[in-house]
Symmetry: C2
Subunit: 325 residues, 2 copies
Amino acid sequence: MATIKDVARLAGVSPSTVSKHLNGGSVRQENLAAIRSAIAQLDYRVDPIARSLKTRRSYSIGILLPSLAAPFFSSVFLASDKVLREHGYHSLMSCYYADHGLERDYLGYLISAGVDGLIYVPENLTAEEFQELTARRNVPVVQVDRMIPGVDSDIVLSENKRSACLAVSRLIERGHRRIALVGGPNSVQTAKERLAGYLQALELNGILYDDALVLSGELSFAFGYQSFMELMSSGAPPTAIFSTNHDITMGIITAARERGLRIPGDVDVFGFDCVDVCAVMSPPLPVVHQPEEEMGRMAAAYLIQRLDGYSGEPRRTRLPCKLVL
Amino acid sequence: MATIKDVARLAGVSPSTVSKHLNGGSVRQENLAAIRSAIAQLDYRVDPIARSLKTRRSYSIGILLPSLAAPFFSSVFLASDKVLREHGYHSLMSCYYADHGLERDYLGYLISAGVDGLIYVPENLTAEEFQELTARRNVPVVQVDRMIPGVDSDIVLSENKRSACLAVSRLIERGHRRIALVGGPNSVQTAKERLAGYLQALELNGILYDDALVLSGELSFAFGYQSFMELMSSGAPPTAIFSTNHDITMGIITAARERGLRIPGDVDVFGFDCVDVCAVMSPPLPVVHQPEEEMGRMAAAYLIQRLDGYSGEPRRTRLPCKLVL
DNA sequence: TTGAAAGCGATACCAG
DNA sequence: CTGGTATCGCTTTCAA
């Protein structure tokens, strides 16, 4: 691997001059030509490691997320990546597969591995763990989609409670009184908020809360499938289900079909996310659509502002969702 | 941020001694204590950037993949991550969202960003582009799931042709003669191989190839959905469909249900991947199951061997798939 | 505009 | 075992 010195030597200038050119400075015509040719000849490329040791910038952004296989994240991070790239950054993702140990480890790793900033979708970390891992490091973090209560960072969320309430209200308007909720664990703040919205809708409509109708568990296809079977096997099954997660929704739909139950004929279902998939069903499955692209863009924008020196109070943005019926 | 010098000063030893301890060397008892206490007191952590400038090792492995939202990749990289971690490495993923420009850019970026090795799922790059981007760099690459023809690296694939042939043969055994294939673009080697298996099965069974029954396109839900509609709207629709991709399969199933066609009653479908999802349908959708975990583990193992100095010929491994009926 | 020299934070060699 | 010194590759004064 050629170094900047090799280039300098071949071009007959000093390393400083090469460096200057590399970083957009102006150089005398003839030197410019010589440097360019030397670079081409040697296939020289700057070593980002060495560069960032000196500059303390790597122009890479860490993305820490719990799961690869969710269209929601795919959309969010495609959008954030686009913005980041426009500003000269690259995204480096680490997936912790919803594992607490991995989440800790990768958070610590990314923070000290030299990323300039971090977009983080938390799941199981406590505020204390987070503080400990990020203390003294000067890496701005933006939490997306979820948040660790007690962690002060920029945050981009959607209006989970409000959207959930609207969705459930919709089901109530359609005449349902026994509405189940199948969602994520309470350790996930976002799941809690959606549950709160569900409860609010019940309350607003004078419907009594029935413990047996609320199932919280893994954000997975399997959990959705099992939950459906469980709910429908009970003595008093719900007439409608509000599912607060994509994978869960898919599990529910599959289970319903397997049981020979029509949606929405026999049981009504309201989902969250996965608009593309749901829109194509017949009839389309109504869902709460989160503004993935905007969430991604905004997270990236917040991060870039911090990297550009902005140091105001942590911002908490709640983006509105749409009900797609 | 405290540096090794700060620690040395506080501990009353030289940086070299601290470094020795940091890297597992033995140090006199009293110094050990002093160093440890200094590290704790200062919350010192080694700077991986500086370290890797010197050692030329970052203990990070790049993972370059075309898509986040595929359970297949999730399984593969969970498995590879596990192996890599056991050997002290971390995974850093970049997703290029099936975009050629992004694929190029991120490949170049990762290669020069200091990853020690790369696990790569290619899609659109030519061998020339690949060579150019990786030339002179000494980063071992393992291709997984797909391959760029002409690129000599370790490769872990599954037996695409054979599995496809078996799957289609199965459909033929069930009495089908008009079998459609819906799969990926020809630029993806793996898609080609599966098509080849399909053709082989037809030939072995004396079935004439019908151009109208073979649809190649994006590896997406939408393409599967459209393809199904197109196939079933034609004058002579197939009685069975072989789908060579998860997302495509989901699109097909959705479309079939929308049309009110029963699987396998009205139209038979054989899929690829997404075993968990397909197993839970009723009746379970038969699929070719690739050994994701083993693919991931093996890719990681190959990489680690290279990083440990192994320099034999590039290895091409074909892992057998299972038909899950 | 240019280049000599210092330094980013850590490791490695080698003499003591 | 210990520590001085050189060095990794690049950027950054600062004087010329």
